[in-house]
Symmetry: C2
Subunit: 456 residues, 2 copies
């Protein structure tokens, strides 16, 4: 016997996890498509050189790479992708002439990282990315927030906040303080604010060292932190920042761009209550150059951002001399599912068909098969229990998986061409309904059972 | 610069391929769910021992395995899955106590085989499998054909044939001819009939050698072939076989089981015209023990079977002593898409949103953003062109991708709060429509454009 366990850091997804996951992915696909994003797929296996090119992944990610070899292949040539961004860059570099711009793509797929296994950390996980390539338009910037908003609403998240910033505002502020050369170190320190707290960030800021001169003084570190801490709120934050920073050209450009995005989001009907400005929001990745955004769920901030992204100047410089600016974001499917599960926002049903058609011992199996086929033809999912075991066990199967109704035809019902309709939640049973009214009765009962709050 | 090519035998799927593919997968998921199949997902990476256990894969498949290693991992421990059946067996062995039976699962995912690259052969491809585990019910057998039928109808395949057989009929016939010991070799030879022709199959049959005695004589080989060639047709084939083979217990059992399946398919409303019997249908895999089935598309038989499967006695004997019979099938997504593409049955559009909202140079970008948001709120996909480039170029973008309508607001329209609605197929344009009737006008125009046969 071989042990049926999965390899370390990997996992099986059973139906109870997959059903809400598929529902969420279907919602995301509808949202992406509604904005004109088109799907692409790239192989899980890429050439090693594509994945390890300069700047493709951080040193940490490259250490975690899974190499792939087969008989007849040379070692070191192939590997599993660790994100969907490097494959997108390669894809766009290869195909952009046929595709043209703007190119709006979404991609949903597994990525692989050989991280040390830990609770909630897996070596294979799914990313959901969408990007608009080949434009510097503010419409595309605003749309990135619109898509996140629509996707979270479609997923059933009640309240959440999309936090926006523009890289040039912070850059401009640092330049105005004579700290431009240190911006990378400052951004990385600020990025940790919610994780390690203000005192630790102050310490990191003071340890920042300019290669060509001194680092931040304690006073400068406090000023940076003060700028960030007063730079959080609604649109009024932009106004006060214009008053203090408006004379710096980079900051002024960033503030104006962010204001345009807010105005477009108003036009798009995204409620201001779901938007926030945070002038300290940095997002670790060095390649963002314009707006950056992240998303937290109200009351569940401890889960971190569930959807993040930003604008970049040049997507595919590793693969082409053609300059391809773009903007996009990634929705953390598994993180969002874990959050919604903990919050109790996911249905608990592990059934995909709402109706179980029982196979009564001693009756003709053609009857449940025929009735179920009629329900499906009317658009109602119906599962036939395959074996004529005692009815109680069949109903137990339905209750435990989350079927909502059972259709039952015993020998008497068969003789009279009627059926019994049992609500598996309330255990109420309507008896002796005529076969001719099957579809209507089941439809009405399903609508009624929705109001009882049975899992959808 | 790094060359942006994919590795040998792998491929990128651009939007023109992915859009019909996603549509087909969504249809399959709806069909699977409508019968009560639930989704599961297993990792792409399995432990090597799971994949290479005795009987898990054929020698050929095992030679093609992709090994996976990461820093700190030992070589030879991990590999990419080559099908979804071995992972299903492992999954079921591990989880069956929580899951209970019957367990009806579907799985859609990439599998990997290091085959020699050739036209139409890829080292990564998608399988769509569904199986019912833990029952020997004829209802589940019939349902396998029902699901294939519903899936192909949902995919838009006009006419196709699901061919059925039962392993015990052929076994019984061979036993009645004193050829029982040779059945494996005979089945493998018969499986090649459509590929290599009858003369070559006769030759293979004559070369079949019984380990404990002689092989087939030329006469026996001809008799086997005659049985197979007269055993094709509708339900009448079962009747004549009962007359000649009914005294053989195995054959009688197989014939009765197949008759039951046909009766249940009648009850389910699957048209007899889409079903065929072929008593020579063997399906190469040794582990089928009951019904076997395959599916060809009328007029496109050269593509081979697009959906195949059968019943097996014991799914997970590698991993558990628990005996788990089941029945299931696999739909060849990529083969079916290639066939439908060649037949011209796929829409040609590479757009996911039917409406393009142009951004007229010199107008407020908030207007297209607002109008598009209104369309989406009404359930109509709408893509805003991100940049105010000359209108002709924007309309060219829409026409080339397959958007059906364009909504245009120039400076005059902005002043009068009206818009122009252009049909991108006919180039007809309705001018000066009021913003207040946006949703209704677009909805009507979309319905009208459907009848023009514009790509969906």
């Amino acid at each position: 016997m071989i042990d049926p366990r999965v390899a370390s850091g990997l996992r099986d997804l059973p139906p109870a996890v997959m059903i809400p996951r598929e529902r969420m992915l279907a919602a995301f696909r509808r949202v992406f498509a509604g904005f004109g994003f088109v799907p692409i797929e790239t192989p899980h296996i890429e050439r090693m050189e594509v994945l390890t090119g300069k700047g493709a992944g951080s040193d940490e990610v490259l250490r975690q790479i899974f190499e792939v070899t087969n008989k007849g292949g040379k070692p070191g040539e192939l590997a599993l992708r660790f994100d969907l961004t490097v494959p997108l860059a390669r894809f766009v570099a290869k195909h952009i002439d046929e595709l043209g711009t703007p190119f709006k793509r979404y991609a949903i797929g597994s990525v692989f990282r050989g991280e040390r296994p830990a609770k909630g950390r897996f070596r294979e996980f799914v990313q959901c990315d969408f990007d608009t390539i080949g434009t510097t338009s503010a419409v595309a910037d605003a749309e990135t927030a619109q898509v996140i908003h629509a996707a979270l609403v479609a997923a059933g998240v009640p309240e959440f906040t999309i936090t926006l910033n523009h890289r040039k505002i912070l850059d401009g502020f640092l330049a105005s303080q004579g700290l431009g050369a240190l911006s990378g170190q400052v951004l990385r320190a600020l990025d940790k604010l919610s994780k390690i707290g203000r005192e630790a960030v102050l310490g990191e800021l003071e340890r920042a060292i300019d290669v060509g001169g001194p680092g931040l003084t304690a006073d400068q570190a406090r000023q940076v932190l003060a700028f960030v801490e007063t730079g959080r709120g609604g649109a009024e934050v932009l106004e006060s920042a214009r008053a203090t920073l408006g004379s710096n050209p980079a900051a002024a450009e960033g503030l104006a761009a962010l204001q345009t995005v807010l105005d477009l989001l108003d036009a798009a009907g995204v409620p201001r209550t779901r938007l926030a400005i945070d002038l300290g929001l940095a997002r670790g990745l060095d390649y963002y150059t314009g707006i950056v955004l992240e998303t937290t769920v109200q009351g569940w901030e401890k889960f971190g951002s569930v959807a993040s992204g930003g604008r970049y100047d040049d997507l595919a410089s590793l693969f082409t001399t053609r300059r391809l600016p773009g903007v996009g974001a990634s929705i953390g499917l598994d993180r969002l599912l874990a959050l919604m599960d903990e919050a109790g926002w996911l249905g608990s049903s592990a059934a995909t068909a709402p109706v179980l058609v029982a196979q009564f011992p001693g009756t003709d199996p053609a009857i449940p098969v025929r009735l179920a086929a009629r329900l499906r033809a009317a658009g109602i999912g119906a599962e036939v229990f395959p074996d004529p075991i005692p009815l109680g066990k069949q109903l137990g199967y339905g209750s435990s998986r989350g079927h909502r109704l059972a259709v039952i035809v015993g020998p008497d019902e068969q003789a009279n061409q009627v059926f019994n309709l049992r609500n598996l939640t309330t255990r109420q049973e309507d008896k002796g309904l005529a076969w001719s009214v099957l579809e209507d009765s089941v439809q009405s009962a399903l609508e009624a059972s929705k109001h009882q709050g049975a899992g959808l």
